[in-house]
Symmetry: C2
Subunit: 110 residues, 2 copies
C-alpha cells in the first residue's frame, strides 16, 4: 500500500476543529491557494498550512504546488470513511429500534 489506511479516528479529529471545517467548506466551492484560504479566515499562512497537512493526512484534501503557489482542493476519500462509519452505527441503531418495535407490538398483542 502506498499510504497508510485512513481511520475514522483521523477524519473525525480533523473535522472536530472549526477552522478546518471552515477550510473544507471553502474548498467545497472550488480549489484555493494557502493565502486564498488564510485571508478570509484571518489566520497566518503557517496556521492554514498546518491545517491543510491534517486534512491531507486523512484524505479530506490534497494539494499540488506549481510555481510558488500551492493549490488545495478536496478529496472524496475522507468523506467516504466518515459516511461509512456513520452508516454502520445507524444500521445497528435502527436494528435496535426495530427490535423495540417488535417488542412493543407483542405487548399490544398481549
Amino acid at each position: 500500500m502506498s499510504r497508510a489506511a485512513i481511520t475514522a479516528d483521523q477524519v473525525f479529529h480533523a473535522l472536530g476543529d472549526p477552522t478546518r471545517r471552515a477550510i473544507v467548506e471553502r474548498l467545497a466551492q472550488g480549489p484555493a491557494s494557502i493565502s486564498g484560504l488564510a485571508q478570509p479566515l484571518g489566520f497566518t499562512l503557517t496556521a492554514i498550512a498546518q491545517h491543510l497537512q491534517v486534512l491531507c493526512d486523512c484524505g479530506l484534501a490534497r494539494t499540488e504546488k506549481v510555481g510558488r503557489v500551492r493549490t488545495c482542493s478536496l478529496q472524496t476519500a475522507g468523506f467516504t470513511v466518515m459516511e461509512d462509519w456513520i452508516a454502520e452505527r445507524r444500521a445497528t441503531l435502527e436494528q435496535q429500534l426495530d427490535r423495540l418495535g417488535d417488542f412493543l407490538a407483542q405487548e399490544d398483542d398481549g
Copy 2:
C-alpha cells in the same frame, strides 16, 4: 423550540474525541449504564458522565435515570446533522468534478 438547534460544529467536535466515539460505538450495540460504559473503557464514572453530557447536548445520545442507574442510548438527531453536512459538501464537490469532466471533454473535442 424546546432546545437550541444542534450545529454541525457541536456534533463534529463531539465525535472528534476518541473516547466519545468509543462510547457511541458501544451504545450502537444497545443501551448501557454509566458504569457499564466506564468499566471496559477504563475511565472513571465522572469522565464518562462528562462525555455523555456532550453527546446529549449535540443530539447523539440521550439518558434516563431510573432508580440509581442512568441508562444511556443513542439518538438519531446528531447523526442526521452530520450526514446533511457531509452530503452538502459532497454535492458541491461533485459539481466541481462534473464541470472538470465537461472541460476535459471539450478539450478532447478541441
